[in-house]
Structure formats: C-alpha cells, structure tokens
Symmetry: D2
Subunit: 346 residues, 4 copies
C-alpha cells in the first residue's frame, strides 16, 4: 500500500547513505565538535550568506523546539503560537514541561499576523499574567499554508517594536523555499527575518536531524549547556553533521523541497478537477482535501493517508503528503486510480 | 475613596482578630500540626458531614492550585479549564511552571459543560498530545456566574466516566453557597461532587489562607511532601488553623458569603433600574456592569472599581465587588450617588 | 512542657499584634502595593542605609529561596551550598523542583569558604556539567555557627572574581547581627556584602514573613512576575508589610535577636559548667549540645527539644533554641533542673 | 593520532551499515512503530528470555535517563546515586531539570552498596526532606568497576525491602556482560535484578541509540507520552530499531563488548608490568592508570586519551578506553611505544 501519509516514512537521500559509507570507519571527535559538523556549519553559513550565526544540530524537531525555547525564556515568559502550531498540539506539552506557557491564538489558516498578536499583548498587562516574549511560527504551517517574505518582515518588525523574539520552526522549510513563487523567500533572507529558526532535515531526506540557527547574539552563550541538559547532544555527533554536509554542499536541500512540491502538483490538480475543496490553500507538499465520505473510504482502501478531521458528517478531510522520495509513477498511478474512483462514486 | 474593587481589600473578621489576641502567647507545634489546625479540620469535617477527607491549610489560592495540581498529575497530563479560569489567566503560568499544560476551553459565561469538554478529549487522541486528566472549575467563576448542584453532578459524572479528576477552585465558594437559591448547593454536597476542592478564606475575612480538601484517596499520600517543596507549609501554621477555626465554629464562613451578596443586591438593582446590562448574569458578590463611557468615568472619580474590558468603543465594563466587610451605609451612598449620576448623564 | 525546640513555636511580638488591631478595619491596596508595605520598605532601607535596594515580602523561607533562585539562574546553572545548607536538606528539593541542581560541599562547621568552593568550580569544567553560578550561605548557619563580616567579605570578593552571585539566607539574621562581638556585622554592611539576602521575620516574632532584599540590579526587573507565578504574592499583602513596619520602626528586630541570645547564655553556661560539649561553637540562639544518653532522656521528659543526631551510641545531640519570646524564668527553671539532673546522673 | 579517548569516537558496526543500505528505500511506519523496531524488541526479549518487558529505543543516554526517571518519580521523590554517577556529574543537571534531586553518595570505587544507601534513607525522615525512591547504578561504573550478579541481587533485595526502585544504566553493559568471569552476569539475569535498565548501543557500535527495558509493570503505562514530551521519539524510528536488530540477531552486542575488553588486556598488562597503578581495579574496556607526569605527557604527544584527575602534583590519571572498533595493531603499536617510553623515562 503506497503511503502519502507523511514526509517521514522514507529513509535517507542516496547521497547521505554514500557519505555514511565513506566516513564510517574514521575516528572522530565526539559531541558535535568534529570536522563534518564544522563543514556542515560552513556550508549552511554560505547558503545563508551570513557567517555570524551559530548552528547546532539536534536529532528531532520537538527536542529542538524545547531546547531552544527553554534556553531563551525566563520562568514567567511565554510563547505565542497559532492554536494549530506544532508546539501547541503535537509535542505533548514539551514546552510547558520546561515551565513555559504557550499562548494559543485562533487563526483562519494556521498563520499569525500582527493583528492577531496585538490583543494577546494587550491582555497580558501585568505580573498576574505570563509575559509573552517569543512569537513562534511554522513555515510552512501545520495546515500547509506558507508565510511570504513580506509577511515575515511584518511579523519581525512588529516583534522588534514590542520587544518580542521571533522564531521560525522550519520542519518543512525546504518546501517554503521551493514555493518561492508564492513566498518570495530565499535562504539568505532567513537570518534577516527572525531571531532564530531551524532547518528541518528529517522531512527532506535526512535519517534524522534539524539544524538550529541562532541569529540573535543573546541566545548564543552557553547554548550547548542547555543542549546537553536536555539530552540534545549526540555522542557521535558527526552523524548529524555529515547529513547536513550532504544536504547543503550540492543544493540537495532545496531540490528535495522542490521535488516534493512537484510530486504534489498532479495530485492537487486531480482534486481540483474533481471539485474537491482544500481545508486551506496550500502551495507546499502537504494538502488537506475534503472528500465525500465514500470517496475518502475508497482512497484509504488503496493508499495510506492521515485522517485530519470531519468538517461535517458527510465529509472527511485527509492529509496528503509527498516527500523528497515520492515516486513519479506512484503519483501517476494514484491520479489514475483517483479519477476512476471519482467516475464510479461521484 | 470607597473601594468596590475586590473582596480582598479589607482585613480580618473581628472574631479572627479576637482569636489571635487570645492565643498569641501560647507555644504551639509548628508546620500545621497544632491544636488549632486540628480543631479547624474537625469543624470543617463536621460542616462537610464527611470525616474521611484530608484538609490542608495553605496561604493563598495560586499556591494551593499549583501545589495540588502538580501533586496529582503525571508529567504529560494536562488540566482542562475555561479560557477565563484563574489558572489560565491570573496565575502567571503557575501550573505550566510545574510542567503541565492548561487546555483552555472557550465558554460563553465562564462555565464548563460536558459538551464543551468532550471535543477536547476527542482531539487529544494519542501520545503526540498531552493527556487531559483533570477538569478545573471555579465556583463562582471569574465572571461571577455560578454552577448549580445539578451542573456539578453532571460534570463529575462525566469526569468519572472519562477517567478525569474533577477539582473546584472555591476562592469565593462562600458566595456560591450563599446563593443557594440559584445553586441549590450546600456544604455537605461538596465532597460528593468532586475529587478535591478548596475553601477560600482570604475573600471571606481571613487575613490569608485557603483550606484544600482532598476527597479522592489517591491524592492523600505524602501530600505534605509536595506542600513543603512548593513552600506551602507555614512554620507557624497555627495562624492558618486558628482562622479557619473561627470561620467554621459559628457558621461565620457562610454568613460572610451571605453578607457580601446582600450588600451587592441594592447595587445590582440600581444598575438594573438604570438599564445597565451585565456581562453575564451573576448572582454572587461580583458583577460586571457595562456602562456608557461617561458614566464609567464619573463612577471612577468617586469609587474604586476594577477595569474589566471595553466591549465596544462607547462602553466600559467594570468589576464591582462586595465583601464580608462591605458597609451598608457605603452601599446606600453609592446607590444614591449612582442615581444622581444617571440623572445627570443619561 | 516548656519548649526549647525551635524559634518558631511562639506567636507574634506584642507590637505586631497591636498594629494588627489598629489597622484591621481599613481598606488597602492589595498584592503588596499598600502603604504598610511601602513604609516597611522605607524603614528597612533606612536601617540598611541603602535606598537603591528592592525589597519584597514573602510568607516563608522556602518560598523565598525558591522564588529568588529560580528567578536569577538559567536552566543549566546551579547553586553551591554547604551540604548542611537549608536548601540542600530541609526544603524537600524545592530548588531542584524549579530545575536547578544544588552542588553540596562538605564542611566542618556548616560554613563555606573560598577554599571549599574552588574545587567545585574546577570540577565543573564544561557543558557536560552544570554551571555553578550562585553561592548560597545561611548566616547563622543551620548548625548555629556564624560568618563574620570579614569572612563574608572574602566570600563576596571571591564570588565576584569568579562571576558567581552571592546570596545570604537570613532566616535567623537577627541573631548574627546580635552576636556582633563575634561577627562584627552590622545591618548597613549587608548590601555591601552580597547580591541579595533575606531578613527572616518568622523567627524574630513575626507571625510569618521574610523580607527579600535584592541588591544586584540584574535581579530586580520583573521579579514580581516570578513571585506571582510561585504563589508568593499575598492578596492582603499589607499583613506582611505591617509586621516588618513594626519590626523595623523601633529597632525591635535587632532587640529580638539580642534577647534570644541573652536567653541562651545561661543555658550554654550551664552546659559548659557540666562539661557538655557542643557539636560546633555556636554564639547564637541555637546550640547543639552532646549529652550522655541518660541525661538527654531525662531532659526530654521535662522539656521539648529537637533530636539532632547520635554522634556515637552512648551520646545524643539535641538542638536547644531560644527565641524573642523565651521567658527568663523558664530559662532559670531549666538551668536549675539541669543542674539537679547532672548531680543525679553524672 | 590514534585515539584511546573514549568508546564513542568510531562509527557503526559493518553489519549495521549493511542493514541501512538494505532497507533505506522502503516506506515505514513512523515514531518507532515499525517492523524493524518490532523485530529488535523480539530479539532483545529472546536474549533476555523474558517476553513481558517493554522496550523503547531512545537516541542517547542522557535522554534515556531523564525520560525514564521523570516518568516514574513524583515531584518530591529523589534518586540515590554514587557521587560519581553519570546523572550526578556529566548530564548537566538533566535530572534536576525535570524537578528531581539526585542524592549523591560518596563511594570508594563508584559502587553503591546497601550499607552506603541505608544512612541516606535514615536521614530523609519526613516531609522536610525529599523522599528517595529510586536507586541508580551504572554497570560498569564511570570509573570502570563492575557490579557482580551477587552484588546486584543484594542491592535489588535491599531496594524491594525499602520500597525503592532499582535502575541500571547500561551505557557500557556489554562490557559488564563480557567480563562475565568477574561479574557472573548473563543477559537473562538482568530483568530479574532490577526494575528497569538500558542497553547501551552507542558505545557498542551503533551510530546512536539505547534500548530502555522496563521490567516493573508500574512503569509501562503511557511511557510513550513522556518520551514524546521529552523529544525522545524519533520520526524515522526504524533507524533506531534496525541497529538493535543487527546488534541482537547474531550476538553482535556481546561480541562487541568482548572485543573491547580483549583489546584492553594487553594495554592493562603493559601498565601492570611497568608498575603503573590504576585508580580502581577495572576489568572492563575503560581503565584509569596513574602515571608520573612526564610519562603522561609523553603518551599524550602520540595518543589521544582523556584527562581524569591529578591525584597529586607529580601524577596524572588518564582514561584509556577501547571499543568494538579498536584495532589490534593499534594496540600492539601502543604497547611497544609505551614500553619504549618507560625505558626512556622511568
């Protein structure tokens, strides 16, 4: 059964596998202070055109978010997130477990705006309330929408005016960059648009691993202490470094994002042709089509997808995801299957 | 300037002051294991008609809530609260600081219902989400509404069916009991309606102090360890005990609640007569009238109140609070003043 | 049975009781922002001859320590304490519960020195270890010894050289000041000798309450946020303020310390005369005599004391404590009783 | 420069690399619920001859320890560890960051005994102290010593009598099993000797990964919630599973431990022959020889080792470590070099 369930069901990019084979029998310095991690940091700084940022490699997204956020906030400071934000939903209270409230904001499409943040600041007026200090966004968001460069500029300017830090969860950042026509966002823009962000590796063909980029000088000092405390320093850290070395030395990172979007395109077109609406307009590698129940059931007999929600009793919203590894033929087969199902059922 | 700002602006009941004078020069056992604390526990058990509950005295409400909640939840368990609930707003993230997420629920009137809780449970489906384990309500709520006995029965039955604990924050419990005509709630009902609750002393004429009542057997073991760790055991604990001794030995507790509501009645009637709407229907000692701005300004020139919100640009919602100490003449004066203001401004 | 068990078994100073009676029926601003708290702050600043310090009143010592320490440390920073330090023993892991390690140092007499701290710093060499950032001492210590002004100067100078903060737990500070002949310590010395300290009220005749004095500018900002989060802001905060107003407006605070030491003197002399050794030389209001078992048993039949330890199987070490309230006649009676017991048993 | 610095400087076992190549292009279920993780769990259960245990794969040792310990302890419960225990030294306060005190015990050789634990229990007598609930040992210990099967039996029996949990950190467990002549310990003994333990993969030729084995039924429920919260569930979890599949399907795990000890043997003999004492008797793959300074300096010119301590000003204690990957010729070369250095310098 072919899976469109998510973008972390497949292994690693061939280039990464080859690199593992090449370096496996060398002795290395441990704890991320090795030549591969250093090389990866160099490649990423070059791609960002910014040699002042600090870069740390961490095994997964939740661990990255909790290590970063607990590092920069004082005990009574809180983080503002869309209600649908990953830290507010799918991280089992990881941020609260480090002592900090997540202030959730209702949104229409998973995206924060200055206008949505302002009332939160107004409400938190004194020491009886937590002190919101960080704005967290995911780009792309958890519902597949994207922030444009202009929207990020507005958010960051707003944050600076209100003494807030701004952090971008880039679990699927490659897709936001690949959707450049919509986002106008390039890699070198990023350090100019936020205080910190992370570059997701897992969902772009790493075995595991995210690269946290610290832009704001205040965050840099003794960050490795907090990493170690949270279990976020790997003994054989070069296995993280080497993956990012491969992702960034030949532009593989951006290409992987582009491939995943290219693979989504025919699927999205097929849904559009069949008059299937999406939960939100989503130009990236994950979309959330709303099917009549019978059609959803039929699809799930042949393909793995993720259940998202029931917008009403007659319809079912599923998540479709493509990845760096999605096979062109599998997409073609799906589109044909889908058209046949529509003919039969609609 | 007379204050209707809140119910914690005045000192202690005369009976409590006299008790302090009487016992001040005796030697006592420390840390809450003294004869006054024991006597207070006895009086409260008698009032509850339940001799199996454990009772602990703690200096304030936030300290009570955080000590209790951190005691009963596992790290990944969360508490469900109305969005307006005290733990979700005015405790500076105290619950999150002990590691637990508060899952906020939007309500119309500050009150949770099974129908509002059910979708929260449905959404938290697996280990990627926190596990909601406790339902927190305040009675009366933070917007002055009350839960009836029947509503609490429904909530507790729902909680038991879904393996949830049920906890009542009784910062102003005396008012809910005094509003018996609306709530049908008596003191002995309480241990039958929840797993734990606290009896607020501060807002009923104690200097300070809340009595936490643990009903559920699971909560009782080694609770004092958690109290000590959170700084919630007072060295001279008998000063907490003696206050509750006084509040409960002659029914002072309930009378104080009744007085505060009786003092609110003429104020509420004056607002009604003048056509001033309330934010919610609130039968207790705090109400939230919505005034034309000019009238609000005029009131605030002569009386202390608390600003609540701006429902629209022309209106201002203020909190009016009475207490065990509110003076009958002060109320009369206010009503006269208010009528004069209305005549002048409306 | 007369109690020499501790210095928190008796109520409040008469002057404090009278003040409560005087102010009880006034309306006040809540949460510690009232005229009595302000007056108390003024009196303390005058006594300290330092008008730049921030002063916060908190209900108890553990709550003060955990609120202060969690405010100033980053997640991976730790506090160095004598192994016998209150935060390392009798606070049920309160500091660890806020996320910070206490690094215990073995001492001979409960006192830290630069020479004892240096190896701790040497050992904590990189990000695999916590980063010790605060030195915590109690003066007097938990075993009744005291730091002299010169010793505190040395410690603070050492701390500054090593980028460590220095904090003095003054639960019994009045006794250290009253033992001026040994300590050479005066009240105005304190803000020059540390980054923060607290002035214990509970053990000097307050009902409850400690005054935390923040000297270091870094600690001052938004401290009330952390207080509120930890449950350390009392709604009727003026009941804390008024107690310190009384303690400091007529020098009652220092006198109380002096009285407690004066009451200990005859007891200590009686022990000396009988050849009873002390655990440590202790010039304050708590001493730890080591009795032959039979004598300890005999004492405990007639007086309450606290068991400290068994130095060997034939001896028992007890804690004797006097307080602001210890009665001169009770002391005389004890000394007579003790001499009689010695005659009979030794 | 050949490194004897540690046992995590080399990559993965060839068999693991081959397995990665074989499975890389398959689609898998995510979050550790895949066929490779299941197969690895089966192999480990077979090796343990116990099919009732729960097994979870986590990326590193600190993350394993903090996730496990925070899962089983209540807020005021503490863990007893040798002062030299990894959680008390080299994990940057990871356990305290989850709220729990580590009670350190001074030992002669890094090993706990019932006689060393008993005084800790005696001291922690009531709610003013943390409640020690878990005993943590590393086998082998951080100084290279090992617990025998009999010692573990005694400790576990002691723990059960005192209502303590018993947990073995097996970062280098393979070495303790390979040193069977000294330890008499076999793999199937382990679930009978403790409530939980982990099987270290990183130091036996995995890229990364530890297998936590939960024996005690109380620990099993909803453990994955705590894993997710602490960032300890990997999206592509099969990359953990497949490594343990390889380590356990052909006994590779035990063989790796045996190889590391076999490689240490000639080194240890050379030191013995030269009269170089060890810090402790250590039958495993890490030893701590104490060299005259000049000899230590000479060694460090040609080989990487880890500085351990300065027992006195004339001597230097270094850590020597071998691993699954240590090359037989490198060992021979070192022994020759060492003998030459001794001839020259001693």
């Amino acid at each position: 059964m072919y899976s469109f369930q998510n973008d972390y069901s497949e292994g690693m990019q061939p280039a990464i596998l080859r690199a593992l084979e090449t370096i496996n029998y060398h002795q290395n310095h441990s704890y991320g202070q090795d030549i591969h991690s250093d090389a990866a940091r160099d490649y990423i700084q070059e791609a960002l055109e910014d040699f002042s940022v600090d870069i740390h490699f961490i095994a997964g997204g939740t661990l990255t978010n909790l290590t970063f956020i607990s590092h920069i906030l004082k005990p009574f400071e809180a983080v503002i997130s869309a209600e649908t934000g990953h830290i507010n939903t799918h991280e089992t209270g990881a941020i609260e477990a480090t002592g900090h409230k997540v202030c959730p904001v209702l949104t229409k499409n998973g995206k924060l705006t200055p206008d949505l943040i302002r009332p939160v600041l107004d409400m938190h007026e004194n020491e009886h309330w937590v002190d919101p200090r960080l704005v967290y966004v995911s780009n792309p968001t958890e519902v597949g929408t994207v922030y444009t460069k202009e929207e990020l500029e507005d958010l960051y300017a707003f944050c600076k005016r209100h003494d807030l830090y701004f952090y971008i969860d880039g679990a699927r950042l490659a897709a936001a960059l690949a959707a450049k026509e919509e986002t106008h966002l390039t890699f070198p823009d990023l350090p100019k648009l936020c205080d910190a962000f992370y570059i997701g590796g897992t969902k772009v063909g790493a075995m595991f691993g995210e690269a946290l980029v610290l832009v704001n000088e205040n965050f840099k000092e003794r960050f490795r202490f907090n990493m170690k405390q949270k279990g976020a320093i790997l003994a054989k850290g070069w296995f993280l470094g080497v993956q990012f070395e491969e992702l960034f030395k030949n532009n593989l990172y951006i290409e992987a994002g582009a491939h995943s979007i290219a693979m989504m395109k025919p699927i999205k077109e097929a849904f559009e042709k069949a008059g299937i609406p999406l939960l939100c307009e989503a130009p990236t590698n994950q979309i959330f089509p709303i099917f009549p129940n019978a059609l959803a059931d039929e699809i799930n007999k042949k393909y793995l997808t993720t259940f998202q929600c029931k917008p009403d009793k007659d319809h079912t919203c599923l998540r479709f995801c493509t990845s760096w590894a999605t096979n062109e033929n599998a997409v073609k087969d799906f589109v044909e299957d889908f058209e046949e199902m529509c003919n039969r059922l609609l």
